[in-house]
């Protein structure tokens, strides 16, 4: 099952990356479509964050994750660094779980 998903995902990813190089598309994308596609990556990644912050392990959080996520947002916005965010996030969660 996992192997099917891995190989399938690899094929899907390659198809997306190679299609525009292999096929010629004439004309421009409609404005609505390009706006939608523009917003898609951020939305998907944010959608990955939501459950992990609100409902880690499938049940309502005890509070450590939302606090850590807020601090990650602040750290990354301030330092413009992914690494700073990861360090702050991991340290906060570890600390709050100790308490």
């Amino acid at each position: 099952m996992i192997w099917i998903a891995i190989v399938g995902s690899a094929l899907a990813t390659y198809l997306i990356r190679s299609l525009p190089f292999a096929v010629t598309i004439r004309g421009h994308l409609p404005d609505a479509a390009s706006r939608y596609l523009d917003a898609l990556p951020v939305a998907i990644i944010a959608a990955l964050v939501g459950p992990a912050v609100i409902a880690p392990a499938g049940a309502l959080t005890h509070g450590a994750e939302p606090v850590a996520a807020a601090l990650v947002v602040a750290a990354v916005a301030w330092r413009r660094s992914l690494l700073a965010g990861v360090i702050v996030g991991v340290a906060t969660v570890a600390l709050l779980r100790l308490i």
Binding site: I2, S9, V42, L48, G50, G89
Partner: protein, 207 residues
């Protein structure tokens, strides 16, 4: 380049600690080679999501690469088809950002793209292996909050990607809808549902 090593190692650690086999983890980095999707796959595997859901989620996350490829078409037009197909395999956010910068500064060399993109590929896979080894050594990830690293990485990616107020609104809506769906017990379809619906907001906002 440094980011690739850190994120790649993090991926290896998290994937290993989620219970995936080293071969499976290495295969993901070798074959899929897409950071955000690989993290998403680990998350979905740990929720025992069926393969079609995993593949569909990856497809959605990587749709942006079609746009990137489309915007690089003009520069790669001179290459034979085989060259373009190879270029497509190593097309990532980082390679695209670098190539766009290079061409905008007036650069014409395609070797630049290939060298950079393949270096990223090699580093990503080396970092993955390092992460697998490290993941075995660390022990219980929850104790050190390491299980949160993936969420922190995603949160950071979202923050760095926000350019307009509408981006922030879309991200917030996507996160809340997905979180709500997960709480309601629909965790396997939460990401793809919320991720596909929230961008519709972009159609009604002004830039």
């Amino acid at each position: 380049m440094g980011t690739v090593l850190v994120v790649g190692t993090t991926f290896g650690v998290i994937a290993r600690q989620s219970g995936l086999e080293p071969v499976q983890i290495a295969a993901m980095s070798l074959l899929v080679f897409a950071g955000a999707s690989q993290f998403a796959m680990v998350r979905l595997f740990s929720e025992s999501a069926p393969a079609p859901i995993v593949i569909a989620s990856v497809l959605f996350i990587n749709l942006r690469h079609a746009l990137m490829a489309a915007s690089l078409r003009a520069q790669l037009q001179g290459l034979p088809l085989v060259g373009r197909l190879v270029a497509a395999f190593v097309l990532t956010d980082e390679a695209f950002a670098m190539a766009t910068g290079h061409f905008r500064r007036g650069g014409r060399s395609l070797a630049y793209y290939f060298v950079f993109a393949f270096t990223l590929y090699v580093l990503w896979n080396m970092a993955t292996v390092a992460g697998i080894v490290l993941g075995d050594a660390i022990g219980d990830p929850r104790r050190y909050g390491i299980d949160f690293a993936i969420t922190a990485t995603f949160t950071g990616i979202v923050v760095l990607a926000i350019r307009h107020r509408s981006d922030a609104v879309i991200a917030l809506v996507a996160a809340l809808v997905a979180g709500g769906l997960a709480l309601a017990g629909a965790s396997t379809v939460a990401v793809i549902t919320a991720g596909a619906l929230a961008p519709l907001i972009a159609l009604f906002t002004r830039r």
